[in-house]
Amino acid sequence: MLPFSIQLTDGTPVSDQILLAVRKALLTGQMKAGDEFPSVRTLSQELKISPTTAHKVVLQLKDAGWLNSRPGIGMVVTQPDQPGLAERLAQITPECRALLKEAAELNLTLNQVITHLKSL
């Protein structure tokens, strides 16, 4: 079992899909700082992916500050230092504005858009 939800699909590289799933799990609270992160072997066995890919994913997460290696335990989830909520939201404001404009043109309600965002 993996501590985050993932359904691998074709098309985009497996490593990108895992990174996205892990980020989402951290955002939704499915995984929290201090949690143990699965080993390379568990990742590769659970997802039936090459250990090389699994290893690469772990390194990328570590580089991005999401994982820390703790001797004796393995990888542990960390929350990287990040700016305050307002600042982070400000970063995605232009995309949100564009999305709302596009949604209005397509005659979609805010709730429909929110439901769709959650389903991604």
């Binding site: 691998l8 074709d10 098309g11 985009t12 590289p13 497996v14 072997r41 590769s44 066995q45 997802l47 039936k48 992916i49 090459s50 250990p51 090389t52 890919t53």
Partner: protein, 300 residues
């Protein structure tokens, strides 16, 4: 791990392997793909000294394939779709028979795999399902923790559950230092997530050898809309494969994709009236299909 240079093997009039060269690196899963009859099994049998090459050579674990002996075979695990097993033996007898052949046999690992594979010790191999028999064969080839595992069409005819168990078992081995997997298949679907490298053999020769990452980064499915009544030019850039137009929509596979800007630029040059392209990444299976069409992959 494996180096094949200009390998030739002929059976009467058929040249099964016709000058194949390939390098299989350590610490990766290399998928050896090609249509049935392309020469995959013959190549593998040459690698394992089951066939003698007519010319050219292969070196496995640093030893010429023609000189492979017991010392090397304790480091190589081999499972083939149609390998001959002592069918009259029970699973237990089979393992008892294999164990003394390998000084490096790991009994604890054997026990772990037995549980994992859910194999019945007292059943004769001939009474096992095909999937169970393949698992028994894999167990007997993994329990001594070989450095190199060679699998010849291991998944054909296995149901998805058994295939998953099989892959899990295989991946157990990659925990140790120094492992290499070389797996042949006629169906990329079976190995597309597992493979770090893709080698394609066609008519006994190497058609492609590339990492999965590199393939996925250079291939894109492109779709553009053309103005009313207009046809795409007959000659398009040669790296645009399988261009097809239906109504206003033109589709093709970009095989040397770098980035969106560069693609948009070459599109403007080739078809100035085309709309902004829709650019979509492709799965390895789609890429394989595109390549198969481009190379006209066929068996013999």
């Amino acid at each position: 791990m494996i180096t094949i240079s200009d390998l030739h093997k002929r059976f009467r009039k058929t040249e099964a392997v016709a000058g194949l060269s390939l390098e299989v690196p350590e610490g990766q899963v290399t998928a050896f793909l090609g249509p049935n009859g392309a020469g995959k099994s013959t190549t593998i049998k040459c690698l394992l000294n089951l066939y003698r090459p007519d010319s050219g050579s292969a070196s496995v674990l640093g030893t010429d394939s023609r000189k492979l002996g017991p010392a090397q075979f304790t480091q190589i695990g081999y499972v083939s779709e149609n390998m001959e097993l002592p069918l009259w033996m029970t699973v237990k007898q089979f393992l008892d028979y294999c164990r003394p052949l390998y000084p490096n046999w790991d009994k604890a690992f054997e026990a772990q795999l037995l549980t994992q594979f859910d194999l019945p010790l007292t059943t004769k191999l001939k009474d096992l399902s095909r999937g169970m028999r393949m698992k028994a064969a894999l167990l007997s080839s993994l329990a001594y923790r070989p450095k190199l595992v060679v699998l010849d069409e291991p998944f054909s005819g296995l149901d998805p559950l058994v295939r998953d168990e099989f892959i899990r078992g295989l991946l157990e081995l990659t925990e140790q230092e120094g492992w290499t997997v070389f797996v042949s298949s006629h169906d990329i679907e079976e190995v597309q997530r597992l493979a770090d490298r893709i080698a394609i053999i066609n008519r006994g020769k190497l058609a492609l050898d590339e990492t999965s990452d590199s393939l996925q980064s250079r291939f894109r499915a492109i779709e553009v809309v053309l103005p009313d009544q207009s046809r795409a030019p007959v000659s398009l850039p040669t790296d645009w494969l399988h261009a097809e137009q239906a109504g206003r929509t033109l589709r093709f596979t970009a095989s040397r994709f770098q980035n969106d800007t560069q693609l948009a630029a070459s599109l403007r040059e080739a078809i100035p009236t085309a709309s902004t392209p829709e650019i979509r990444p492709m799965s390895l299976r789609e890429i394989f299909v595109a390549l198969a069409r481009a190379y006209r992959l066929e068996g013999k």
